[in-house]
């Protein structure tokens, strides 16, 4: 009985098509990638079906789930201008602020989310960039917003002086108590600040189809 000779087939596969596809995907992901900026405080925003894109320049007032308030600005120049405005405002009350060096003022731009009393600022800035980068939400007490010492109001004013066209957004955690949010809204809408239109940062909801009544 003669043996049936199986034809030997090459194990090599043509990879060209696969390479094409994989590079196509790669290009897509590289182009769409937007790296998440370092966020010292984790804020889980609620969802909504609103599709407004965040305006720019933007001032963000974040409220974490413990009700601590943080302040952040979208650009470096705004940060340094608003810091100078704050020093002008609080320099007489806390003279240490006036002794901040230029180097320390540039360190301020590295603070992604400002969350402490303004008089703590010199201490934190002297500790250097590594310390600032390692700051987490637990280490920051939040900006005081009580009516006797409403520093948030002054930060907002400092930011508005830096750029009057800046929009304000509130970024609250889903679980944060409404009381703090209302305090923030009250600060925004009071007669001094007078910001009556602002944004609430939300993430997009999956399906928000309106059910029309018959």
């Amino acid at each position: 009985m003669p043996r049936i000779k199986l034809p030997r087939k090459s194990t090599a596969i043509d990879m060209t098509a696969m390479t094409d596809v994989s590079f196509l995907l790669l290009t897509f992901f590289i182009l769409t990638a937007k790296f998440r900026p370092h966020q010292p405080v984790i804020i889980d925003t609620p969802t909504s079906r609103s599709e407004l894109i965040l305006p720019d320049p933007l001032m963000t007032i974040s409220v974490d789930k413990e009700g601590k308030v943080f302040y952040s600005l979208s650009s470096l120049e705004l940060k340094s201008t608003s810091l100078n405005n704050m020093i002008e405002k609080y320099g007489d009350k806390y003279p240490v602020l006036k002794n901040l060096s230029e180097q320390q003022k540039t360190e301020f731009a590295n603070i992604e989310m400002m969350g402490f009393d303004v008089q703590q600022l010199p201490d934190i800035l002297t500790k250097g960039n590594d310390y600032i980068q390692s700051l987490t939400g637990e280490q920051m007490p939040g900006i005081p917003i009580d009516s006797s010492n409403n520093q948030l109001q002054d930060w907002i004013m400092a930011g508005r002086y830096a750029n009057p066209n800046m929009r304000v957004a509130i970024k609250g955690d889903s679980k944060s108590n409404i009381k703090t949010i209302q305090e923030v809204i009250k600060t925004l809408t009071n007669e001094t600040v007078n910001v009556n239109t602002f944004n609430l940062i939300t993430s997009l909801e999956g399906s928000g189809e309106a059910v029309k009544p018959e």
Partner: protein, 194 residues
Amino acid sequence: MADIQTPEKGSHGKHGKGKVRSKKMSTRVDFTPMVDLAFLLISFFMLTTTLAKPKAMELNMPKKTEEKDKEDVKEGWVLNVILDKNDKIWYYNGIVVFDMKTTNYSPEGIRQVVYDKQKEVEKKYESSDKMICIIKMTDDANYKNMVDILDEMDITATKRYAIQDISPLEEEAIANGGVLDPSRIPEIVTEPVQ
């Protein structure tokens, strides 16, 4: 795949002193490492990208100093919504707290309440645009509740809504399970709803 095919020896080119022929090299390149690398990078970028970018919703609060937008409100236009803890919603019609009902954030809940009110207002006052929804919150409500109710306003196309502070009477009614003793209700002169 990982082979470079060399031209077979002895077939041609070896005999004779003819022209020196350049070796015919295969044009096939081994793609395997390239694909490896490409997939590595794909997985990296896939895992690091955030496709869900944050969106924003806009909220307009009335200017404290402006008086011009003030308008007389008929009791029949008003729907009061009070957000309470544990995702509970209290609601009542008109301006006098009397008997509050509860609902939730589901489409059959507050959304239906708003639609019903819109229909009622449309029947009585011709246009459902007259309806005003007043949103109040107890101190135990959370921020998600507020965003959800604002979202509902958008879904139901309620044009007029406002966020207000809760009144002591309403707090009392909530503590009392939504009902308020009639003697506690102040006498408010209201025009009769037709």
